[in-house]
């Protein structure tokens, strides 16, 4: 089997606070293969963004990776010194943030942003970098790039700015792009365009994507596989079709039911009772059990690891009985 682009093993992110240490990401493992799009879904505060931020090494202190490993193309990157990690960012891992309106420095032109990034990662001169910048703008679908390159971010609409942000994230042809809610701040009509663009570019360049979103629709349309996060852990992971149509974890089922369906007969939209626990009050056993309609005794006492459940894997005792899954041991290493 080919070496995965990104392999994360037992990653734990902790925040020391005055009232004890909070675990924002708790012992999660996943892998992304070359050219693959892994979607990560979950509610706000489930640890999705924290996972992405930890992978690219941009956790804000006091947050820190307290355990586990992150490997990029086989090499460990979670313990790299500051300067090496910096060189790797943008060069081999790109990142796209949620809000294109605030991702660009208002005092600099689009061209400055692009040439600055290109020149940081390649040894191109100013003129070459500019030529490359215009190419990139063309590639992300900015009309009249030769003129617009000298304009400032405020001359661009939200969708156009997100295109520029994508160009910036891809300008050194990274192996992996972490897209943290790339469409959340955009109009619905623009969202589809941006997702299509991201998909097309990553396919053309063979870039893998870690797509973080709370929008199941975006995941269904874009991702190859999907990981569902709840309270800092991965509760289900599998091929996107399987997870969407045949959810194994009660939480995923709840998420799917909560998506409004056109032509559906129900008057009330199904919702999951209760709210996700605070990080300081995660219950014993399965973190989801207080909200789970199918919880039983074992759920309240023992924390489930990821267990094989058909084509996907789910951290739920409902699947404990199935063969060849139980007992993978701590860590719940995903087989990918």
């Amino acid at each position: 089997m080919a070496r995965p682009v990104l392999q994360v093993d037992n990653l734990t992110v902790e925040f020391p606070t005055r009232r004890g240490t909070l675990r924002a990401v708790d012992d999660i493992s996943f892998r992304i293969d070359a050219g693959e799009v892994l979607g990560v879904v979950g509610e706000s505060g489930a640890g999705k963004s924290m996972t992405g931020t930890a992978v690219i090494g941009l956790l804000e202190p006091p947050g820190r990776i307290s355990g586990g490993r992150v490997q990029l193309e086989g090499a460990r990157i979670d313990h790299l010194p500051h300067d090496q990690m910096r060189r790797l960012r943008g060069q081999r891992i790109g990142m796209i943030f949620q809000d294109p309106l605030t991702s660009l420095n208002p005092l600099y032109t689009i061209g400055f942003h692009l040439t600055e990034t290109i020149r940081t990662h390649t040894d191109r001169g100013e003129a070459e970098a500019r030529a490359r910048a215009i190419e990139l703008l063309t590639e992300v679908g900015i009309p009249a790039p030769a003129q617009r390159i000298d304009q400032y971010p405020h001359h661009f609409s939200g969708g156009m700015r997100q295109r520029v942000v994508i160009a910036l994230a891809l300008c050194a042809e990274p192996r992996l792009v972490i897209a943290d809610e790339p469409t959340t701040a955009l109009d619905v009509s623009i969202q589809a365009q941006i997702i299509q663009l991201l998909k097309r570019l990553c396919r053309e360049h063979g870039t893998s994507v870690l797509l973080i979103t709370h929008d199941m629709g975006v995941i269904a349309e874009t991702a190859d596989r999907v990981a569902v996060m709840y309270a800092g852990r991965i509760v289900e992971v599998g091929p996107v079709r399987e997870v969407v149509q045949n959810a194994k974890h009660p939480y995923t089922e709840g998420l799917m039911d909560a998506i409004p369906k056109i032509g559906g007969r129900t008057e009330d939209l199904a919702q999951i009772r209760g709210t996700m626990p605070r990080l300081s009050q995660i219950p014993a056993g399965c973190a989801f059990h207080p909200r789970c309609p199918r919880a039983f005794d074992r759920c309240r006492q023992e924390r489930p690891e990821l267990l094989d459940a058909g084509a996907s894997r789910a951290a739920c005792w409902l699947h404990a009985g199935e063969p060849a899954g139980a007992g993978t041991g701590r860590g719940g290493g995903e087989r990918g």
């Binding site: 910096r86 060189r87 943030f97 208002p106 990662h121 405020h154 609409s157 942000v165």
Partner: protein, 328 residues
């Protein structure tokens, strides 16, 4: 852009007229100018004649028009106590005050900005804590006390620096400067630090808080995610955004440096406009007081105008270009 400058200039003229009116009213309401000029033995006929000759019987508006027109040509009449044209007196004193203010501002900026940046980037370093503590002292101690302390230590105790005056000056025709002689620099050192210390701490704290704010923004996060060097992130992106509010405050502070020079000039007997003004108050020398008021207002207006223009240079969002309207 042109329209903006014209509008700002018009506003400035209005401000200057209002200040001129205030200055003018001093002549009317702080004693009788005739009494200030003549002796006790002057007869009332002579007084009336003088009043008529000086145009003090004309309607108010005419008098004010004359005053404003003269002031616009920097003609503020003759000082009562020095019997010399006020403009001449100020021309002698202005270089001293402006040099002092300039040195203080340079000191405040050259120390305040780097210290602010340092304390923002190295929040937990012990040196940051030292800077912050010192800045607290700088903010809370009154200017004259700092001046007196400096004189005590460096003039009385150590005897390194002169405690008063400007040192040797070089006459460059219209401008006498103390910046070309060693003794001039020595004499300027303590007054400029005294005058600039408060501004320095203010700028340092402002830069620090603005910088911390900017460092939290998304575009800084994104700049880091693009792999830019710390240098490029901190000085290319963060500092430039920090400077927008800093320019405003610095501009306003420069005005007050010139105005507050009064105290420092008194403490160090610095032969500037402030000292002249204080002496004028003691002797009810109204032409000098009026001229001082107008000059200070003029500096404030001028500096504000420059600050507004600087905004345009720094922040592209303010530049209105009709050629390219916002995207699609």
């Amino acid at each position: 852009m042109i329209a903006f400058i014209v509008r700002r200039l018009l506003q400035s003229i209005v401000v200057m007229l209002v200040v001129a009116l205030l200055a003018f009213s001093m002549f009317r309401y702080i004693g009788d100018p005739i009494n200030q000029m003549v002796g006790v033995e002057t007869s009332s006929e002579e007084r009336a004649e003088l009043r008529e000759r000086l145009g003090l019987n004309d309607p108010m508006l005419v008098q004010f028009g004359r005053f404003a027109a003269d002031a616009a040509r920097f003609d503020f009449g003759v000082s009562y106590q020095h019997k010399k044209p006020v403009s001449e007196l100020f021309a002698d004193r202005l270089p001293a005050t402006l040099e002092l203010a300039f040195l203080s501002a340079v000191f405040a900026l050259a120390c305040g900005i780097p210290m602010g940046v340092y304390t923002a980037l190295r929040r937990d370093a012990w040196l940051s804590k030292v800077f912050l503590t010192v800045s607290l002292i700088g903010i809370s101690l009154p200017t004259f006390l700092i001046g007196i302390l400096l004189i005590f230590v460096f003039s009385v105790w150590l005897g390194w620096l002169p405690s008063f005056g400007r040192g040797e000056t070089v006459d460059l025709g219209v401008w006498t400067t103390g910046l070309l002689t060693v003794s001039g620099w020595k004499a300027a050192l303590m007054p400029s630090i005294t005058l600039g210390l408060f501004q320095m701490t203010l700028i340092m704290r402002l830069v620090r808080s603005e910088m911390l704010e900017v460092l939290r923004t998304d575009y800084i996060k994104f700049a880091r995610a693009r792999g830019l060097s710390d240098r490029a992130v901190h000085f290319g992106h963060a500092l430039k955004n920090t400077l927008v509010p800093v320019i405003t405050i610095t501009g306003l502070q420069l005005g007050s440096i010139i105005a507050f020079a009064i105290i420092t000039e008194t403490v160090f007997q610095w032969p500037g406009m402030g000292l002249l003004f204080l002496q004028a108050i003691q002797n009810v020398d109204i032409p000098i007081m009026a001229a001082y008021l107008i000059l200070i207002a003029f500096f404030f207006v001028l500096i504000n105008l420059i600050v507004d223009l600087l905004y345009y240079a720094v922040d592209p969002r303010l530049r209105v270009d009709r050629a390219t309207s916002a995207g699609h």
